[in-house]
Every structure is written in structure tokens, then in C-alpha cells.
Symmetry: C2
């Protein structure tokens, strides 16, 4: 089958980015959200990215205009999914919300529509049956689309195996690097490794082995990277990290979740609130003298 029309469910940060990249890659895209306001901010997010891409020379104004014409925004579910070849769902990371959405769109979508979820830490098997078409259901998980260009393809045991290669091709048309998660795994591939390394950093901090700055320096200088684990946590959001960490039963994760909670309760969620482990917009780790 040929994929031509994409329906994006949920106009948050990730949904907006997938929608924009799909439109830039030549697909017709409808963006659905229950909130009109979310659609308005989605447009602004896209305009911001387009401006950046034009600014750094990787996109022309003409191509940007063409892409924007391929996008529609709607709060009408039937309109959103009409004639869609593929749904990519990025609604709130809560089981009951995703269940509700998949039940609804399972009934509304044309029979040809492929169902994909962009969930971060949940599993496709949790929603495959309720969608009414488990064989057409698969996780298709993007990272940030424009900087980290990986897309995870993670089937559940009931996914039609042919769907995997189709999604692989689709991922490449969006200029992403597709990776196959052969078995369902919370956090796919990258997030599993990321959380392990961040957990180790958290343990070094809560056990008072080293300071935030020295832990970050160790990572940054050894790997020539622009951020260490606590800088990365600030960019992920401490609330997001806490959601994953506080569910882990081991003592080290619990201690780190406790520390994250203190920051969260003080309103320090990271970059988005202007403060987390560092203060923004000019965090210490971006300053020239950080390594001195």
C-alpha cells in the first residue's frame, strides 16, 4: 500500500514535530487535538522550527510554504481521520487517555488505516486490542525528529510482520534512522540506555560521591558532549524523569526519585521553568570556564 495521508493525534511537542516533518516530506497531514488552543500552539511550534530550518539553510521558504499547505488542523475526529493511511498517536502518556483515543479512532478510521503509537514508555500490546485491529497496530516512536533522527519500530506479538518493513520505509522517507525493537520493551532501545546512565548519575549524586558539576564534567569531557546527565535531565524535564524513576523498585532509584521530587515541589522542572539542576537560559555547563 502507498502511504499518502497521515493523521497525527495529539498536537503536543512531539506530535507537532512528526506532523511538520511528514508535511515537509510530501505527505498530506491532518493534526487532531481535543483542544483548539493546542492546535494554535502547534502551529507556533511548527513556525518556530521552520524559521530555524530556513535560518540554518536546510530549508527554502518555498518548500516551507508548500509543506504548510499540506497541513490541516482540526478538533473534529471524523474529519481528522478521513481517508488517513496512517495514524501516529502522541496523546498524553496515560493509559486511560490512550485507551479512550484508540477505541474512538478504531471505530472512526477507514479500514485501510495503519495504527501507530508514539508512546514513550508504554507498550503497543496495551492498546492493540481496544483499537479493534491489533494486526495493524505497532509502536512508531520518534525522538525529537530534527536533531535526534531515530525512529523506533516496536511491534507487539500480534502485529502483522509485513507492517514492520512498511514502517521502516516510511521512517526513511521522513529522513529518520529506523531501528527495530524485536520484542516489546519499556523505553525501546535508547531510553533504556539513557535511563540506566542517568540512574547511575543519580546514584553518584544521592550517595554524595560527587557534585552535579563534576558528574556532568566527567561525561562531557570524556565523550566530548555538550551536556552531562544533569544537563540532559534539565532538557528532558525533571517531572518526566521522576515519572519513570519513581516506579523503579530498587533503593538507588527510589533515593534519586526522592531528590527529583524535591526539585519538582520547588517548581524546578528544568529548562522549561528556567531552573532545574542548572539555571537557564545560560546554564553553567555552557559557559567557557565550566571545565576550569
Amino acid at each position: 500500500m502507498k502511504i499518502e495521508k497521515i493523521c497525527i493525534l495529539g498536537a503536543g511537542t512531539l506530535g507537532s514535530r512528526v506532523a511538520l516533518q511528514s508535511a515537509l516530506s510530501g505527505y498530506q497531514v491532518s493534526v487532531y487535538d481535543i483542544h483548539h488552543k493546542a492546535l494554535e500552539s502547534s502551529k507556533k511550534v511548527m513556525q518556530g522550527i521552520v524559521k530555524q530550518l530556513i535560518g540554518n539553510g536546510s530549508l527554502s521558504q518555498e518548500k516551507a510554504n508548500e509543506a504548510m499547505h499540506r497541513l490541516t488542523f482540526t478538533t473534529d475526529p471524523s474529519h481528522a481521520v478521513a481517508d488517513a493511511d496512517l495514524i501516529n498517536e502522541s496523546v498524553t502518556e496515560e493509559v486511560n487517555v490512550k485507551e479512550k483515543v484508540w477505541k474512538q479512532f478504531g471505530q472512526l478510521a477507514p479500514s485501510k488505516t495503519i495504527f501507530t503509537t508514539n508512546t514513550s514508555f508504554l507498550l503497543p500490546s496495551m492498546f492493540a486490542d481496544i483499537s479493534g485491529r491489533p494486526e495493524k497496530f505497532c509502536a512508531l516512536h520518534f525522538h525529537d525528529v530534527f536533531y535526534s533522527k531515530v525512529v523506533d519500530i516496536m511491534p507487539h506479538p500480534g502485529t502483522d510482520p509485513n507492517l514492520i518493513s512498511l514502517l521502516e520505509v516510511f521512517g526513511k522517507t521522513l529522513r529518520q534512522v529506523p531501528v527495530i525493537v524485536k520484542k516489546e520493551n519499556h523505553g525501546y532501545i535508547f531510553n533504556s540506555m539513557l535511563m540506566a546512565f542517568i540512574g547511575a548519575a543519580g546514584k553518584l549524586l544521592t550517595k554524595e560521591v560527587a557534585s552535579i558539576e563534576d558528574i556532568d564534567k566527567s561525561w562531557m569531557v570524556n565523550f566530548h558532549m555538550p551536556m552531562g546527565p544533569f544537563g540532559i535531565l534539565d532538557s528532558i524535564g525533571l517531572d518526566t524523569a521522576w515519572h519513570v524513576t519513581h516506579k523503579m523498585p530498587d533503593a538507588a532509584s527510589q533515593a534519586f526519585a526522592g531528590l527529583l521530587k524535591k526539585y519538582i515541589d520547588a517548581g524546578k522542572l528544568g529548562q522549561k521553568t528556567g531552573e532545574g539542576f542548572y539555571t537557564y537560559p545560560e546554564p553553567a555547563y555552557q559557559k567557557n570556564n565550566f571545565h576550569e
Copy 2:
């Protein structure tokens, strides 16, 4: 006190690098090894690095010559340590070897000499007493000196606190970024995080969640890095990774240690044997089509 003369114990890869950087930074350096042959290959290692540094424009031939004149190589322990202000020990990573060396040099060294160990995973408290001067004993752990310019300063509970700031200044004179490990910790800061992330990668592989290549791609593309965990393992050496992993009691580490052992038994230790998870000198992850 003023540090002028450095004594390097053990002329292996790391010892040679620390010795060379010390000489390049203006220190008088004696390099000691029990094997004459090790001293000869140490000279070759240094000449190779000097050639690279001159080649990439970060060192002049004149400065290189000056540095080489500050280096002496000897199999005579008394000669090596005569008038040394600081010892940095990089002998074989075995407790009884290090104990023997520290007992010997504890007796031979002038009373002014500061004792530092470059151990990777052992702790300074294991050798502080046998050296006869626990208050002057501290871990001073380099990474690869020329690319990863971090130096860990890790005291044991009996280390004189004044020694820490002295070593911090010393580390900076070697153009390294000093980080303080406030409490003894196997693997300092970076290696703790590295092994956690590599352990997570190993778990993804042994549980057959994803392929070696897809795991590496996920890391490389997300973080814009030249290697993923299995490429890094090939550069560390699978035998070195096995030494750490097989001692960890959890099932995931044991499974991964088992997998590493199979590679090791087949002579696949990584880059140094021409094959590990990838084949060298042109591993798949360095090829242009790796992400396709």
C-alpha cells in the same frame, strides 16, 4: 610544596601517556617498569603520539624534543624514585601486584614523595597502609590523557585533605579537567555511568530486544556520537569489560558476561585483535551507509 619530578610506575598504555603529558607540561619524568621490553614499547607509544600531535598542529618539533629530554626510562626502582615529588602508579590491575609495588616504593621513596594510583576499579584504601604513608596516598586516575582529558581525584578516608587541592592544581597543569570523587567508589564517576549504560546495552542484546547495529545506531544518532556501546566495548577491549561485568551478581550482568566470554574465547577481544562485535580496521559503524 612544588612538584617538579614525577615517577611513573608501569610503562603500559596509560602510564606512557601520563608520562608523556607530564614531560610535555615541563616536569622531569622517570618511567619505571620491571621489563626492559615494556620501556622500549613505551618509547614507541610516546613517539607515535608525538607524531600525531605534531601532525595535527598541536605540538612543535622543538617542544617535543624538549619533552623527550625530560624523560628517563629505567628498570632500577631506586633510580626511578630518587628525588621524586610524586609517584603515579599504573601497574597491572591486580591487588597483589599493586600491594607488592606499593610496599617496595613505600620503603624506597624519599619522605616528601606523594603517592598516587591510577587504578581503574580498585580503591586507594586497599594500598594506603601498605605504602607506609596513608595520609600522602590518593587515587589520581587519568582516562586517555590526549582525547578524554579528565582526571579523577579520589581520596580514601585517611588522605590528608590538603593533598586534594594540590592534586587539582597538578591535574590542571597537565591540561586535564580535575573532578573530585568525594567518597571511594569503584569506577570513580565516568566509569560508573559508562558501565551502567553499557550494561543496559548488553541486556538489550542478550534479551534479544534489538541487534548490535540497531542498539549502536540508537545511541549514535540520538547523541550524534561516533560510536555506540558495542563500538565502545570494542575499543575498551571485551576482556576488560568482562573483568568488570562478570563480578556483578545480577542476572542481566551474568548473561552479558557469558556473551562476552564467548567472544573472548573465540579470540575476539575488540579493536586490538582486529575483531570484536565489529571487524577492524574499517568497522561497519564508520561506514557512510551504516545509518541507512
